[in-house]
């Protein structure tokens, strides 16, 4: 049991635990805080996957910006009281059962995947550059420049759209 396995199992179980808490907690504020915890644990998983830049972006954008937006809306609408308890009807049980079947199908498929040998990691220079902010920036600003600019336009349109939709009177 190398430390990598120990960290993976810890972060994986913590992520799943926090995500289940998001679904079953009745108070929306508690759900949002559990989601923040899930995003932090997922950032730990990204670090284990040699993606420190994505991990930092995950914490900054998801746990920071997006969750603050969620909490603001919950408090703006004064929804921080207990919601109704989860009721289980036949339709919901069927839905959960089919999602569980989907998980079993996906997991059995993934277990059959041949393991990648990851021979590229034997090259120290590639391993050094992989996932660093410098390598990511070089890829982003050369090969992916047009999608990058398109995303900036998308964010601008989203800001304007959010203001127009949420405003009481346009």
């Amino acid at each position: 049991m190398t430390p990598e396995y120990v960290f993976f199992l810890f972060f994986a179980f913590a992520t799943v635990f926090a995500s289940v808490a998001v679904v079953i907690l009745r108070n929306p504020v508690a759900s949002a805080m559990a989601l923040v915890a899930a995003f932090f644990f997922l950032a730990g998983i990204y670090v284990l996957l040699w993606a420190p830049t994505i991990a930092v972006i995950q914490v900054l954008v998801y746990a920071g910006a997006i969750m603050v937006l969620f909490l603001f809306v919950i408090m703006l609408l004064a929804l921080s009281h207990q919601g109704p308890p989860l009721t289980l009807s036949l339709a919901r049980l069927l839905g959960v059962a089919s999602v569980a079947a989907l998980f079993v199908a996906l997991a059995s498929l993934f277990l059959k995947l041949p393991e990648e040998p990851m021979t590229w990691a034997n090259d120290p220079s590639r391993l050094q550059a992989f996932g660093s902010i410098q390598a990511l920036g070089e890829t982003l600003y050369t090969k992916w420049l047009f999608p990058f600019e398109a995303v900036s336009l998308l964010l601008l349109v989203a800001i304007l759209g959010a203001v127009v939709v949420a405003k009481a009177k346009v």
Partner: protein, 102 residues
């Protein structure tokens, strides 16, 4: 024992995705349903990053970066719609919001 196999990360992503789907299916609060959607987007990100490590290809990281940006745009517009719905109907319960009309 080398590194943690990619398939373990993929199974974790599948679990996260399924929990997100259950959240959207079970919860009647529109905000919590949105949180389920965020969980599903994160599961997709995890698969991108896992395959990026397996293949040594930074395109997976770039894709995850774009998914995060699109998720931010989706969250801002979606939450604005929730606020507008609350103004019009006085509730964010999905069951009570049956039509798009006023």
């Amino acid at each position: 024992m080398g590194h943690v196999p990619t398939s373990w990360y993929l199974i974790l992503a599948a679990a996260l995705f399924c929990i997100g789907v259950v959240g959207v299916l079970l919860r009647r609060n529109a905000l919590v349903a949105f949180m389920g959607i965020e969980l599903m987007l994160n599961a997709a990100n995890l698969t991108f990053v896992a395959f990026a490590r397996a293949r040594g290809d930074l395109a997976g990281h770039v894709s995850a970066f774009f998914v995060i940006a699109v998720a931010a745009a989706e969250a801002s517009v979606g939450l604005a719609i929730v606020i507008a719905l609350y103004r019009a109907r006085g509730t964010v319960n999905i069951d009570e919001i049956k039509t798009m009309r006023h």
